[in-house]
Symmetry: C2
């Protein structure tokens, strides 16, 4: 938080940032040190180990987006509008600075056996925000807690995967993507009509409509 408190640290983070934007998140400590014009041990003095550096970098980059999403979740809007606002906030955040997105996405590198964590730490925070927002704002009856928590994770994962695909292939405008996801969340999958093709071949014993 203190920008002038430890300026060298910020400087090192800037260098790390440049390297990671250039070489991807698998950049070596040597490379980062070289970019900063120094050698490895200094990095280790400042950040402990590689995870420490990455964590610091991640926090620096994601805190803005996280705050924006949190604010969007509490915006005084009609629910559908609020959902669209949150989706748009997230998508425009990862669109504006894809490097942020990569850090956001990449799970803790120091994996203590590979189990669990499908969501990176920053995304887990977002999931918690969604859980809290749903729990506070929507009347879900007796299953409240379970639903809010499951949905928080689920929605986060949905937006992660869909947003990832959108960023990679750019199949449509951001606005349209927001609509597509909000429509999914709004039960459009349930509401749409069946297609006549590939219909159920009626497990009944009597006459069944021959397909095609």
């Amino acid at each position: 938080m203190p920008p002038a408190d430890e300026p060298r640290r910020e400087q090192l983070l800037n260098a790390a940032d440049r390297v990671i934007q250039r070489d991807g998140p698998s950049a070596s400590m040597n490379a980062i040190a070289a970019e900063a014009g120094i050698t490895k041990p200094i990095l280790y003095r400042h950040f402990g180990d590689r995870n420490g550096l990455i964590r610091a970098l991640t926090e620096r980059h994601t805190s803005g987006l996280l705050a924006a999403v949190r604010a969007a979740l509490n915006e005084p809007l009609e629910r559908r509008d609020r959902v669209e606002h949150v989706l748009d906030t997230y998508l425009s955040g990862i669109e504006a600075r894809p490097q942020v997105y990569r850090l956001l996405t990449h799970p803790e590198p120091g994996d203590p056996s590979g189990a669990g964590h499908a969501l990176a730490p920053a995304l887990r925070q977002i999931a918690e925000e969604i859980t809290r927002a749903v729990d506070n704002q929507v009347d879900l009856g007796a299953d409240r807690e379970l639903l809010a928590e499951a949905w928080g994770r689920g929605i986060t994962g949905m937006v992660l995967a869909a947003g990832d695909w959108w960023l990679e292939t750019r199949p449509c405008s951001r606005t349209r993507m927001v609509q597509a996801l909000a429509d999914l969340l709004w039960g459009r999958l349930a509401a749409a009509a069946d297609l006549p093709t590939a219909v159920l071949p009626a497990p009944a014993p009597a006459a069944d409509a021959p397909p095609a």
Copy 2:
């Protein structure tokens, strides 16, 4: 596919399997070779490189679940029942063999710059199956292609993240989890009533409430 065709290969995969279940997916080639009672170069002769080994292992484990999900997607059921059936198939698959789930989840280790891939290859296949199923079975109008594709990714990511959380914390029975996710997909978030708490504080132009 040929089980008797290259039996040594299967044997090596079994050893790799044991080690990875014991030490996690970050197990070293040396460790795997030792478990198989041999040394590294043999592994490299059979699988090319580490990715090759992991890929072979992943395919062996995930093909069953993938086929089950594909079948569930084409089951002749009412749509909601079909969705529940797919969800249950996936959850019971990862429940029965968590190691499978870890492989399913873990992205390609040989990351060519960290970009993109929020979904591991096996999950991308599932996403494509969902896309195809939606596209074939649901009448979505003009936006058909875009919606089916975005939803395929989105639903996959949703189930990944929610399933991950469920496996880790076991907050409820599988059946209830299936209901929670199906309800989300069925627009229950849209249909529920607003809670009276935390209401919109009227963004009037005059006095703004000083935050406590």
